[in-house]
Amino acid sequence: MSDALLNVQNLEAWYGESKALHGMNFDVRPGELVTLIGRNGAGKSTTLRSIMGIVGKRTGSIRFDGQELINRRTFQIARTGIAYCPEERAIFSSLNVAENLTLPPVLKAGGIADDALLRQFPNLQRRLKSQGTKLSGGEQQMLAIARILRTGARFLLLDEPSEGLAPVVVKEIGEQIKALKTQGFTILLVEQNLSFARKVADRHVVVENGVVVDTLTNSELEADMARVKTYLGV
């Protein structure tokens, strides 16, 4: 699609000898919030890792903002304006909260300033000197999202931000993600929590065995939950 910010065509990816993606095709338009949904092991997280170049080998085409990323290295991909928040949050234990927060460099204009980030994520303000991994799961997730907002990237890859968190924290994360969308960020979100995904997303891309099997708008998803639940096996 010509107006897509991200266009993934026939994406295949491998971990060593093991093929994880078998030809993914989807796109994300500017300002959209798209979720990748599917069962465990379907290839959702691998898709994000492939976009960032964090897999052993990948083929196909990943076009972002008119640039082909498939042969670029991870740090070069980041510099095009994509930021990645991994599933396990990757908070660095050797750094305190302030160091974790300010670790990503500003790569482009338009990033959120540190004081604005602390206003947006007030829980972090009180824990700046704490070791990063001493935070609660929710606070770690906030930190993992907050730190990528300072780089100036306008396209965010968020991998299961609700995973392992209490419902009240999931709700808070959901509000933050909605706020990011309002601020103009384009978001590709991997999510297994369907009730979370339907509250925040515009479109849903269903992934099964490393390929896209369906794409639904949020209203289509609401109208045909039975079909979606079949995909997810719930």
Partner: protein, 294 residues
């Protein structure tokens, strides 16, 4: 039992221990940086230290560049050799087990020492002290140069520790040690940072070589003689622990010096006895932390 020990002897050996400890600390610091941050067991560290001493000697003999110039030039030259070695030998082994880089650096030791022996022979070559004379401390005569070595190496160790623990660059390095792919996803060229870290660690070895040249004879085997002690220091301090390498380096130098006073026959063994005890009581090393131990 210790009637023969005078306060002069004790303080004298303590000071000698501190001087030796300065070399141990600086060399083990470089080794710990390389292992701790890029996971390479750099067996070539002793040979790179030797190379630093030879570069200083060659700069003096062929270009007339004195010690003070060599102090800056030699670490850069040796660091550049390290960078070349990293790009050609170690980079292709980066994704394999540590054992492969250990073997590769061991091969580099044999090549470097062999080439130097071929060119300069096995006999040690003298390098005149840039700070002749000294001061009588009452309990011993302290040559100015040895005093300079203690002070300078302490400054280098503290500066390096501050660089790694208190700066943004250090934060990148520590984070890349934990999750290099995530740090790279922030837009940082981690492979280049790894290469430069290796070159920096090797440069520290070269700097140690320049410092050693006026004290020890400059010879192809000068690094090998020291390496086993340096590895013991890094193991006792905690593999990859920067602070552990520095503190243990000085500690081992002092213990070695004091053992020479109380039980000279055991002075060479003391380090390894400490290493065994440390490994039994704290297998990850005396100063290891969760992020510095693997």
């Amino acid at each position: 039992m210790f009637d023969h020990i005078s306060i002069q002897l004790l303080l004298g050996q303590l000071l000698i221990g501190l001087i030796n400890g300065s070399f141990y600390a600086m060399l083990s610091l470089g080794l710990a940086i390389i292992f701790g941050l890029i996971h390479v067991v750099n067996f070539a560290h002793g040979a790179q230290y030797m190379l630093g001493a030879f570069v200083a000697l060659l700069l003096l003999n062929h270009l007339g560049i004195p010690y003070w110039g060599a102090l800056f030039i030699a670490p850069v030259v040796v660091g550049a050799v390290g960078l070349l070695m990293e790009q050609t030998i170690l980079k292709p082994l980066r994704h394999l087990d540590h054992l492969y880089s250990l073997l590769a650096t061991f091969a580099a030791v044999l090549i470097m020492e062999g080439l130097m022996r071929l060119e300069f022979g096995s006999t040690g070559l003298p390098y005149a002290s840039p700070l002749p004379g000294g001061i009588n401390l009452g309990f011993m005569f302290l040559p100015w140069y040895r005093g300079w070595v203690v002070v300078f190496s302490l400054v280098v160790c503290i500066a390096t520790w501050l660089l790694i623990e208190k700066t943004k660059l250090g934060a990148y390095l520590r984070a890349a040690n934990e999750r290099p792919e995530i740090v790279e996803s922030f837009g940082i060229n981690v492979p280049r940072m790894m290469s430069l870290t290796y070159a920096f660690g090797v440069g520290l070895a070269g700097l140690g070589g320049v410092l050693a040249a006026p004290i020890y004879q400059v010879s192809p085997s000068m690094g090998s003689n020291l390496m086993i002690v340096i590895f013991a220091v890094v193991v006792i301090g905690g593999m990859g622990s920067i602070l552990g390498a520095i503190l243990t380096g000085y500690l081992i130098g002092i213990v070695e010096g004091l053992t020479k006073v109380f039980y000279p026959e055991a002075s060479n063994l003391a380090i390894f006895v400490i290493m065994i005890v440390a490994l039994i009581l704290r297998p990850n090393g005396l100063f290891s932390s969760p992020e510095s131990s693997r």
